[in-house]
Protein backbone atom coordinates (compact mmCIF):
# COMPACT_ATOMS: atom_id res chain seq x y z
CA UNK A 1 0.00 0.00 0.00
CA UNK A 2 3.00 2.26 0.68
CA UNK A 3 6.47 1.65 -0.77
CA UNK A 4 9.01 4.35 -0.13
CA UNK A 5 12.75 4.42 -0.70
CA UNK A 6 15.24 7.08 0.24
CA UNK A 7 12.79 9.89 0.90
CA UNK A 8 14.45 13.15 1.95
CA UNK A 9 13.40 16.71 2.58
CA UNK A 10 15.07 19.75 4.13
CA UNK A 11 13.82 23.15 5.21
CA UNK A 12 16.73 25.50 4.70
CA UNK A 13 19.52 24.07 6.82
CA UNK A 14 17.20 21.73 8.75
CA UNK A 15 17.32 18.20 7.35
CA UNK A 16 13.85 17.18 8.46
CA UNK A 17 13.76 13.77 6.73
CA UNK A 18 17.02 12.09 5.74
CA UNK A 19 16.43 8.98 3.71
CA UNK A 20 13.36 7.14 4.89
CA UNK A 21 12.27 3.69 3.64
CA UNK A 22 8.72 2.56 4.37
CA UNK A 23 6.72 -0.52 3.38
CA UNK A 24 3.13 -0.90 4.48
CA UNK A 25 0.86 -3.74 3.36
CA UNK A 26 -2.86 -3.62 2.79
CA UNK A 27 -4.96 -3.71 5.94
CA UNK A 28 -2.16 -2.94 8.37
CA UNK A 29 -2.30 -0.37 11.15
CA UNK A 30 1.19 1.03 11.25
CA UNK A 31 2.47 3.44 13.88
CA UNK A 32 5.08 6.04 13.00
CA UNK A 33 6.61 6.89 16.33
CA UNK A 34 9.12 9.52 17.32
CA UNK A 35 9.68 12.64 19.39
CA UNK A 36 8.59 16.11 18.32
CA UNK A 37 10.68 17.33 15.43
CA UNK A 38 11.67 13.80 14.34
CA UNK A 39 10.20 14.32 10.87
CA UNK A 40 6.86 12.52 11.14
CA UNK A 41 4.65 15.32 9.84
CA UNK A 42 7.11 16.15 7.07
CA UNK A 43 7.08 12.51 5.93
CA UNK A 44 3.29 12.36 5.99
CA UNK A 45 2.95 15.60 4.07
CA UNK A 46 5.27 14.22 1.41
CA UNK A 47 3.31 10.97 1.15
CA UNK A 48 0.05 12.89 0.84
CA UNK A 49 1.33 15.12 -2.04
CA UNK A 50 1.42 18.28 0.07
CA UNK A 51 5.20 18.63 0.11
CA UNK A 52 7.62 17.74 -2.65
CA UNK A 53 10.36 15.36 -1.57
CA UNK A 54 13.90 16.46 -2.37
CA UNK A 55 14.77 12.90 -3.40
CA UNK A 56 13.51 9.35 -3.20
CA UNK A 57 10.84 7.21 -4.81
CA UNK A 58 7.37 6.47 -3.52
CA UNK A 59 4.29 4.50 -4.47
CA UNK A 60 1.27 5.36 -2.37
CA UNK A 61 -2.00 3.41 -2.74
CA UNK A 62 -0.67 1.93 -5.96
CA UNK A 63 0.11 5.27 -7.60
CA UNK A 64 3.44 6.91 -8.19
CA UNK A 65 3.70 9.92 -5.93
CA UNK A 66 5.61 11.96 -8.49
CA UNK A 67 3.89 10.91 -11.69
CA UNK A 68 0.30 10.78 -10.48
CA UNK A 69 -0.27 12.93 -7.39
CA UNK A 70 -3.97 13.35 -8.26
CA UNK A 71 -4.34 9.57 -8.35
CA UNK A 72 -2.78 9.37 -4.91
CA UNK A 73 -5.13 12.05 -3.60
CA UNK A 74 -8.18 10.18 -4.83
CA UNK A 75 -7.19 7.03 -2.95
CA UNK A 76 -5.99 8.37 0.37
CA UNK A 77 -7.40 10.24 3.32
CA UNK A 78 -5.22 12.58 5.34
CA UNK A 79 -5.99 14.03 8.73
CA UNK A 80 -3.47 16.72 9.62
CA UNK A 81 -2.03 17.23 13.04
CA UNK A 82 -3.46 20.72 13.40
CA UNK A 83 -7.13 19.95 12.64
CA UNK A 84 -9.31 20.64 9.63
CA UNK A 85 -12.10 23.06 10.60
CA UNK A 86 -12.17 26.63 11.88
CA UNK A 87 -13.93 27.20 15.22
CA UNK A 88 -16.89 29.09 13.76
CA UNK A 89 -17.63 26.71 10.90
CA UNK A 90 -20.58 24.34 11.00
CA UNK A 91 -19.39 20.76 11.04
CA UNK A 92 -21.99 19.39 8.63
CA UNK A 93 -21.48 22.09 6.04
CA UNK A 94 -17.71 21.63 6.05
CA UNK A 95 -18.06 17.86 5.69
CA UNK A 96 -20.50 18.16 2.80
CA UNK A 97 -18.13 20.55 0.99
CA UNK A 98 -15.24 18.16 1.51
CA UNK A 99 -17.29 15.24 0.19
CA UNK A 100 -18.19 17.19 -2.92
CA UNK A 101 -14.54 18.02 -3.55
CA UNK A 102 -14.03 14.27 -3.61
CA UNK A 103 -16.63 14.11 -6.38
CA UNK A 104 -19.78 13.07 -4.50
CA UNK A 105 -23.05 14.59 -5.67
CA UNK A 106 -24.99 16.79 -3.29
CA UNK A 107 -27.33 13.97 -2.25
CA UNK A 108 -24.54 11.42 -1.93
CA UNK A 109 -22.53 13.90 0.11
CA UNK A 110 -25.39 14.55 2.54
CA UNK A 111 -26.05 10.84 3.00
CA UNK A 112 -22.40 10.01 3.44
CA UNK A 113 -21.93 12.77 6.01
CA UNK A 114 -24.98 11.69 7.99
CA UNK A 115 -23.76 8.08 7.95
CA UNK A 116 -20.24 8.97 9.03
CA UNK A 117 -21.40 11.24 11.84
CA UNK A 118 -23.50 8.35 13.09
CA UNK A 119 -20.62 5.88 12.86
CA UNK A 120 -18.24 8.19 14.68
CA UNK A 121 -20.73 8.93 17.50
CA UNK A 122 -21.19 12.48 16.28
CA UNK A 123 -24.91 12.35 15.53
CA UNK A 124 -26.45 15.72 16.42
CA UNK A 125 -23.22 17.65 15.88
CA UNK A 126 -24.01 18.51 12.29
CA UNK A 127 -25.28 22.03 12.91
CA UNK A 128 -22.76 22.92 15.57
CA UNK A 129 -19.71 25.11 15.08
CA UNK A 130 -16.54 23.09 15.50
CA UNK A 131 -15.36 25.39 18.28
CA UNK A 132 -18.17 24.15 20.53
CA UNK A 133 -17.21 20.48 20.31
CA UNK A 134 -15.12 18.60 22.85
CA UNK A 135 -11.55 17.71 21.93
CA UNK A 136 -12.49 14.12 21.17
CA UNK A 137 -15.51 15.09 19.08
CA UNK A 138 -13.47 17.59 17.11
CA UNK A 139 -10.82 15.00 16.38
CA UNK A 140 -13.48 12.60 15.15
CA UNK A 141 -14.79 15.33 12.84
CA UNK A 142 -11.24 15.64 11.48
CA UNK A 143 -11.16 11.90 10.91
CA UNK A 144 -14.52 12.03 9.16
CA UNK A 145 -12.97 14.58 6.76
CA UNK A 146 -10.48 11.93 5.71
CA UNK A 147 -13.06 9.15 5.28
CA UNK A 148 -15.73 10.74 3.09
CA UNK A 149 -14.55 9.12 -0.13
CA UNK A 150 -13.87 5.70 1.48
CA UNK A 151 -10.11 5.81 0.90
CA UNK A 152 -8.05 2.63 0.83
CA UNK A 153 -5.40 4.26 2.94
CA UNK A 154 -5.78 6.70 5.79
CA UNK A 155 -3.01 8.90 7.18
CA UNK A 156 -3.58 10.21 10.69
CA UNK A 157 -1.09 12.71 12.09
CA UNK A 158 -1.11 12.56 15.89
CA UNK A 159 -4.81 11.73 16.10
CA UNK A 160 -4.85 11.50 19.89
CA UNK A 161 -2.45 14.22 20.97
CA UNK A 162 -4.07 16.46 23.53
CA UNK A 163 -7.00 14.10 24.20
CA UNK A 164 -7.89 12.75 27.63
CA UNK A 165 -7.21 9.02 28.18
CA UNK A 166 -10.84 8.04 27.72
CA UNK A 167 -11.19 9.87 24.38
CA UNK A 168 -7.93 8.29 23.28
CA UNK A 169 -9.06 4.71 23.88
CA UNK A 170 -12.38 5.58 22.26
CA UNK A 171 -10.54 6.80 19.18
CA UNK A 172 -8.43 3.61 19.08
CA UNK A 173 -11.72 1.70 18.93
CA UNK A 174 -12.82 3.69 15.90
CA UNK A 175 -9.51 3.11 14.11
CA UNK A 176 -9.67 -0.65 14.73
CA UNK A 177 -13.28 -0.77 13.55
CA UNK A 178 -12.37 1.01 10.31
CA UNK A 179 -9.81 -1.63 9.54
CA UNK A 180 -12.13 -4.49 10.53
CA UNK A 181 -15.13 -3.25 8.57
CA UNK A 182 -13.52 -1.93 5.41
CA UNK A 183 -10.03 -3.40 5.36
CA UNK A 184 -8.63 0.10 5.38
CA UNK A 185 -4.90 0.56 5.81
CA UNK A 186 -4.02 3.09 8.51
CA UNK A 187 -0.70 4.89 8.84
CA UNK A 188 -0.66 7.02 11.97
CA UNK A 189 1.89 9.02 13.88
CA UNK A 190 2.07 9.28 17.61
CA UNK A 191 4.53 10.17 20.28
CA UNK A 192 2.79 7.92 22.81
CA UNK A 193 4.62 4.59 22.85
CA UNK A 194 1.89 2.87 24.84
CA UNK A 195 -0.56 3.94 22.14
CA UNK A 196 1.60 2.43 19.42
CA UNK A 197 1.86 -0.74 21.50
CA UNK A 198 -1.88 -1.02 22.07
CA UNK A 199 -3.14 -0.03 18.64
CA UNK A 200 -0.60 -0.81 15.95
CA UNK A 201 0.27 -4.06 14.17
CA UNK A 202 3.66 -2.68 13.35
CA UNK A 203 5.80 0.23 14.40
CA UNK A 204 8.41 2.39 12.71
CA UNK A 205 10.54 4.43 15.05
CA UNK A 206 11.86 7.69 13.58
CA UNK A 207 14.44 9.91 15.21
CA UNK A 208 16.23 12.91 13.69
CA UNK A 209 14.78 12.18 10.26
CA UNK A 210 15.85 8.52 10.09
CA UNK A 211 14.02 5.30 10.78
CA UNK A 212 15.99 3.63 13.53
CA UNK A 213 13.89 0.52 14.18
CA UNK A 214 10.83 -1.26 12.84
CA UNK A 215 8.80 -4.36 13.64
CA UNK A 216 5.77 -5.55 15.54
CA UNK A 217 5.68 -4.38 19.16
CA UNK A 218 6.51 -7.88 20.40
CA UNK A 219 9.36 -8.36 17.90
CA UNK A 220 10.87 -5.04 18.93
CA UNK A 221 10.64 -5.92 22.61
CA UNK A 222 12.12 -9.38 22.02
CA UNK A 223 15.02 -8.13 19.88
CA UNK A 224 15.98 -5.49 22.41
CA UNK A 225 15.21 -7.68 25.39
CA UNK A 226 12.88 -4.99 26.67
CA UNK A 227 9.64 -5.09 28.68
CA UNK A 228 8.13 -1.94 27.18
CA UNK A 229 8.48 0.09 24.02
CA UNK A 230 9.96 2.90 26.10
CA UNK A 231 12.93 0.64 26.79
CA UNK A 232 13.13 -0.27 23.10
CA UNK A 233 13.12 3.42 22.23
CA UNK A 234 15.91 4.16 24.71
CA UNK A 235 17.93 1.24 23.34
CA UNK A 236 17.70 2.29 19.68
CA UNK A 237 18.01 6.06 20.06
CA UNK A 238 20.02 6.48 23.22
CA UNK A 239 17.49 8.92 24.66
CA UNK A 240 14.01 9.03 26.16
CA UNK A 241 11.10 9.80 23.85
CA UNK A 242 9.80 12.73 25.91
CA UNK A 243 13.23 14.18 26.49
CA UNK A 244 13.27 17.75 25.25
CA UNK A 245 9.91 17.22 23.59
CA UNK A 246 7.63 20.22 23.80
CA UNK A 247 4.49 18.08 23.76
Amino acid sequence: MIHVRGLTRSFGAVEAVRGVDIDVSKGEIVGFVGPNGAGKTTTLRMLTTLLRPASGTATVAGRDLFADPAGVRRRIGYVAQGGTVGPFSEVGEELVLQARLYGLSRTEARERVAGLLEELDLAGCEKRPAGQLSGGQKRRVDIAMGLLHRPELLFLDEPTTGLDPQSRTNLWGHVRRLREESGMTVFLTTHYLEEADALCDRILIIDHGRIVASGTPSELKAVHDAGTLDEVFLAVTGHELREGAAA
Partner: protein, 242 residues
Protein backbone atom coordinates in the same frame (compact mmCIF):
# COMPACT_ATOMS: atom_id res chain seq x y z
CA UNK B 1 -17.52 21.24 -12.30
CA UNK B 2 -19.40 19.78 -9.35
CA UNK B 3 -16.42 20.81 -7.22
CA UNK B 4 -16.45 24.40 -8.49
CA UNK B 5 -20.19 24.71 -7.96
CA UNK B 6 -19.90 23.25 -4.47
CA UNK B 7 -17.05 25.55 -3.53
CA UNK B 8 -18.63 28.70 -4.88
CA UNK B 9 -21.96 27.86 -3.27
CA UNK B 10 -20.26 27.16 0.02
CA UNK B 11 -18.28 30.40 0.00
CA UNK B 12 -21.31 32.43 -1.06
CA UNK B 13 -23.42 30.93 1.74
CA UNK B 14 -20.79 31.63 4.37
CA UNK B 15 -20.19 35.18 3.06
CA UNK B 16 -23.77 36.24 2.67
CA UNK B 17 -24.79 35.03 6.13
CA UNK B 18 -22.56 37.82 7.43
CA UNK B 19 -24.36 40.84 5.97
CA UNK B 20 -22.48 43.19 8.23
CA UNK B 21 -19.17 42.15 6.69
CA UNK B 22 -20.51 42.85 3.21
CA UNK B 23 -21.50 46.39 4.15
CA UNK B 24 -18.33 46.87 6.15
CA UNK B 25 -16.19 45.82 3.18
CA UNK B 26 -17.64 48.76 1.26
CA UNK B 27 -17.45 51.20 4.13
CA UNK B 28 -14.60 53.35 2.82
CA UNK B 29 -16.14 54.12 -0.58
CA UNK B 30 -19.47 54.64 1.21
CA UNK B 31 -17.89 57.28 3.41
CA UNK B 32 -16.37 58.98 0.41
CA UNK B 33 -19.69 58.87 -1.38
CA UNK B 34 -21.66 60.36 1.47
CA UNK B 35 -19.16 62.77 3.01
CA UNK B 36 -16.80 63.65 0.16
CA UNK B 37 -19.23 63.33 -2.76
CA UNK B 38 -21.36 66.40 -1.96
CA UNK B 39 -18.18 68.52 -1.78
CA UNK B 40 -16.67 67.02 -4.91
CA UNK B 41 -19.80 67.55 -7.00
CA UNK B 42 -19.78 71.25 -6.15
CA UNK B 43 -16.02 71.70 -6.52
CA UNK B 44 -16.09 72.25 -10.23
CA UNK B 45 -13.67 69.33 -10.75
CA UNK B 46 -16.31 66.84 -11.72
CA UNK B 47 -19.78 65.49 -11.13
CA UNK B 48 -21.22 62.41 -9.44
CA UNK B 49 -20.63 60.67 -12.76
CA UNK B 50 -16.91 61.34 -12.33
CA UNK B 51 -16.76 60.34 -8.68
CA UNK B 52 -18.79 57.11 -8.61
CA UNK B 53 -16.53 55.29 -11.13
CA UNK B 54 -13.55 56.20 -8.94
CA UNK B 55 -15.31 54.91 -5.86
CA UNK B 56 -16.01 51.63 -7.64
CA UNK B 57 -12.30 51.13 -8.26
CA UNK B 58 -11.62 52.14 -4.67
CA UNK B 59 -14.15 49.50 -3.67
CA UNK B 60 -12.33 46.93 -5.77
CA UNK B 61 -9.08 47.70 -3.98
CA UNK B 62 -10.57 47.83 -0.49
CA UNK B 63 -12.94 44.89 -0.80
CA UNK B 64 -11.40 42.38 -3.23
CA UNK B 65 -7.88 43.58 -2.53
CA UNK B 66 -8.15 42.58 1.10
CA UNK B 67 -9.91 39.21 0.75
CA UNK B 68 -6.61 37.44 1.37
CA UNK B 69 -7.17 38.09 5.03
CA UNK B 70 -9.75 35.28 5.07
CA UNK B 71 -7.36 32.68 3.75
CA UNK B 72 -4.96 33.44 6.58
CA UNK B 73 -7.45 31.83 8.96
CA UNK B 74 -8.04 28.90 6.64
CA UNK B 75 -4.34 28.29 6.63
CA UNK B 76 -4.06 28.52 10.39
CA UNK B 77 -6.94 26.12 11.08
CA UNK B 78 -5.84 23.51 8.56
CA UNK B 79 -8.73 24.13 6.16
CA UNK B 80 -6.42 24.92 3.28
CA UNK B 81 -4.43 21.76 3.69
CA UNK B 82 -7.61 19.73 3.92
CA UNK B 83 -8.82 21.19 0.61
CA UNK B 84 -5.45 20.68 -1.05
CA UNK B 85 -5.37 16.98 -0.29
CA UNK B 86 -8.55 16.37 -2.32
CA UNK B 87 -8.30 15.59 -6.05
CA UNK B 88 -9.90 18.95 -6.91
CA UNK B 89 -7.49 21.03 -8.99
CA UNK B 90 -5.88 23.83 -7.07
CA UNK B 91 -6.85 26.36 -9.71
CA UNK B 92 -10.47 25.32 -9.05
CA UNK B 93 -10.00 25.78 -5.31
CA UNK B 94 -8.81 29.32 -6.01
CA UNK B 95 -11.44 30.05 -8.64
CA UNK B 96 -14.28 29.05 -6.29
CA UNK B 97 -13.10 31.59 -3.77
CA UNK B 98 -12.55 34.30 -6.32
CA UNK B 99 -15.98 33.85 -7.87
CA UNK B 100 -17.48 34.44 -4.45
CA UNK B 101 -15.36 37.56 -4.03
CA UNK B 102 -16.51 39.01 -7.31
CA UNK B 103 -20.13 38.24 -6.44
CA UNK B 104 -19.69 40.10 -3.15
CA UNK B 105 -18.10 42.98 -5.02
CA UNK B 106 -20.96 43.07 -7.50
CA UNK B 107 -23.47 43.45 -4.68
CA UNK B 108 -21.40 46.15 -2.99
CA UNK B 109 -20.89 48.00 -6.27
CA UNK B 110 -24.60 47.86 -7.02
CA UNK B 111 -25.25 49.41 -3.60
CA UNK B 112 -22.86 52.26 -4.31
CA UNK B 113 -24.40 52.88 -7.72
CA UNK B 114 -27.91 53.00 -6.27
CA UNK B 115 -26.75 55.50 -3.65
CA UNK B 116 -24.94 57.44 -6.37
CA UNK B 117 -28.20 57.79 -8.29
CA UNK B 118 -29.92 58.94 -5.10
CA UNK B 119 -27.33 61.70 -4.77
CA UNK B 120 -27.68 62.88 -8.35
CA UNK B 121 -25.64 60.63 -10.63
CA UNK B 122 -27.05 60.66 -14.16
CA UNK B 123 -25.18 57.93 -16.02
CA UNK B 124 -27.25 55.83 -18.40
CA UNK B 125 -28.05 52.20 -17.55
CA UNK B 126 -26.00 50.67 -20.38
CA UNK B 127 -22.81 52.43 -19.32
CA UNK B 128 -23.42 51.53 -15.71
CA UNK B 129 -24.01 47.86 -16.49
CA UNK B 130 -20.89 47.69 -18.64
CA UNK B 131 -19.01 49.43 -15.84
CA UNK B 132 -20.27 46.86 -13.33
CA UNK B 133 -19.06 44.11 -15.61
CA UNK B 134 -15.63 45.69 -15.92
CA UNK B 135 -15.21 46.19 -12.19
CA UNK B 136 -16.39 42.64 -11.47
CA UNK B 137 -13.83 41.24 -13.88
CA UNK B 138 -11.15 43.46 -12.38
CA UNK B 139 -12.03 42.16 -8.92
CA UNK B 140 -11.18 38.59 -10.01
CA UNK B 141 -7.59 39.64 -10.61
CA UNK B 142 -7.46 41.65 -7.40
CA UNK B 143 -8.82 38.85 -5.25
CA UNK B 144 -6.47 36.27 -6.80
CA UNK B 145 -3.50 38.55 -6.19
CA UNK B 146 -4.66 39.23 -2.67
CA UNK B 147 -4.65 35.50 -1.91
CA UNK B 148 -1.23 35.17 -3.50
CA UNK B 149 0.14 37.87 -1.21
CA UNK B 150 -1.57 36.38 1.83
CA UNK B 151 -0.03 32.97 1.16
CA UNK B 152 3.40 34.46 0.54
CA UNK B 153 4.11 36.96 3.28
CA UNK B 154 4.00 36.24 6.99
CA UNK B 155 0.43 36.01 8.29
CA UNK B 156 0.64 38.88 10.73
CA UNK B 157 1.99 41.19 8.04
CA UNK B 158 -0.90 40.81 5.63
CA UNK B 159 -3.37 43.25 7.17
CA UNK B 160 -0.91 46.11 7.79
CA UNK B 161 0.92 45.70 4.47
CA UNK B 162 -2.13 45.42 2.26
CA UNK B 163 -4.24 48.07 3.95
CA UNK B 164 -1.30 50.45 3.55
CA UNK B 165 -0.53 49.45 -0.03
CA UNK B 166 -4.05 49.99 -1.34
CA UNK B 167 -4.04 53.68 -0.32
CA UNK B 168 -1.33 54.85 -2.78
CA UNK B 169 -2.75 52.53 -5.45
CA UNK B 170 -6.15 54.10 -5.00
CA UNK B 171 -4.82 57.68 -5.02
CA UNK B 172 -2.61 56.97 -8.06
CA UNK B 173 -5.56 55.60 -10.00
CA UNK B 174 -7.17 59.03 -9.92
CA UNK B 175 -10.20 57.51 -8.23
CA UNK B 176 -10.81 60.57 -6.02
CA UNK B 177 -9.52 63.40 -8.18
CA UNK B 178 -8.91 62.91 -11.91
CA UNK B 179 -5.28 62.59 -12.94
CA UNK B 180 -5.81 65.33 -15.50
CA UNK B 181 -5.14 67.67 -12.56
CA UNK B 182 -1.84 66.00 -11.72
CA UNK B 183 1.67 67.44 -12.25
CA UNK B 184 3.62 65.55 -14.89
CA UNK B 185 5.61 63.30 -12.57
CA UNK B 186 2.47 62.12 -10.77
CA UNK B 187 0.69 61.62 -14.06
CA UNK B 188 3.58 59.47 -15.29
CA UNK B 189 3.71 57.37 -12.12
CA UNK B 190 -0.02 56.82 -12.24
CA UNK B 191 0.22 55.43 -15.77
CA UNK B 192 2.16 52.50 -14.34
CA UNK B 193 -0.78 51.37 -12.21
CA UNK B 194 -3.47 49.31 -13.93
CA UNK B 195 -6.26 50.87 -11.90
CA UNK B 196 -5.92 54.25 -13.58
CA UNK B 197 -7.02 52.71 -16.87
CA UNK B 198 -9.99 51.07 -15.19
CA UNK B 199 -11.07 54.35 -13.57
CA UNK B 200 -10.86 56.23 -16.86
CA UNK B 201 -12.70 53.52 -18.76
CA UNK B 202 -15.45 53.50 -16.13
CA UNK B 203 -15.78 57.28 -16.39
CA UNK B 204 -16.04 57.04 -20.16
CA UNK B 205 -18.66 54.30 -19.87
CA UNK B 206 -20.66 56.33 -17.37
CA UNK B 207 -20.45 59.27 -19.76
CA UNK B 208 -21.93 57.13 -22.53
CA UNK B 209 -18.94 56.77 -24.85
CA UNK B 210 -18.84 52.99 -25.02
CA UNK B 211 -16.32 52.60 -27.80
CA UNK B 212 -13.82 55.35 -27.05
CA UNK B 213 -10.11 54.41 -26.97
CA UNK B 214 -10.19 55.06 -23.21
CA UNK B 215 -12.69 52.23 -22.80
CA UNK B 216 -10.71 49.90 -25.03
CA UNK B 217 -7.54 50.61 -23.09
CA UNK B 218 -9.32 50.07 -19.82
CA UNK B 219 -10.72 46.74 -20.98
CA UNK B 220 -7.38 45.64 -22.35
CA UNK B 221 -5.40 46.56 -19.23
CA UNK B 222 -8.05 44.96 -17.03
CA UNK B 223 -7.96 41.70 -18.99
CA UNK B 224 -4.17 41.56 -18.83
CA UNK B 225 -4.33 42.32 -15.13
CA UNK B 226 -6.86 39.57 -14.48
CA UNK B 227 -4.89 37.04 -16.51
CA UNK B 228 -1.70 37.93 -14.65
CA UNK B 229 -3.43 37.99 -11.27
CA UNK B 230 -5.07 34.62 -11.75
CA UNK B 231 -1.90 33.03 -13.10
CA UNK B 232 0.12 34.28 -10.16
CA UNK B 233 -2.63 33.28 -7.73
CA UNK B 234 -2.77 29.74 -9.14
CA UNK B 235 1.02 29.41 -9.03
CA UNK B 236 1.09 30.39 -5.39
CA UNK B 237 -1.89 28.16 -4.60
CA UNK B 238 -0.16 25.21 -6.23
CA UNK B 239 3.06 25.81 -4.43
CA UNK B 240 3.44 23.71 -1.34
CA UNK B 241 2.84 25.67 1.82
CA UNK B 242 5.78 25.02 4.08
Amino acid sequence: MTALAALTGYYLRTSFTNKFAIVFGAVQPLFYLVIFGPLFSRSGVGSWDTLVPGLLVQLGLMSSGLVGFGIVFDQRFGVLERLRVTPTARSTLLFGRVLKDSAVLLVQAAGIIVLGYAFGMRAGPVGVLLGLLLITVLSIGMAALSYAVALTIRMELFAPVMSTLVIPLMLLSGALLPMSLAPTWLDVVSRFTPFRYAVEALRALFAGSYTSPTVLWGVLVTLVFVAAGFTIGTKVYQRENT
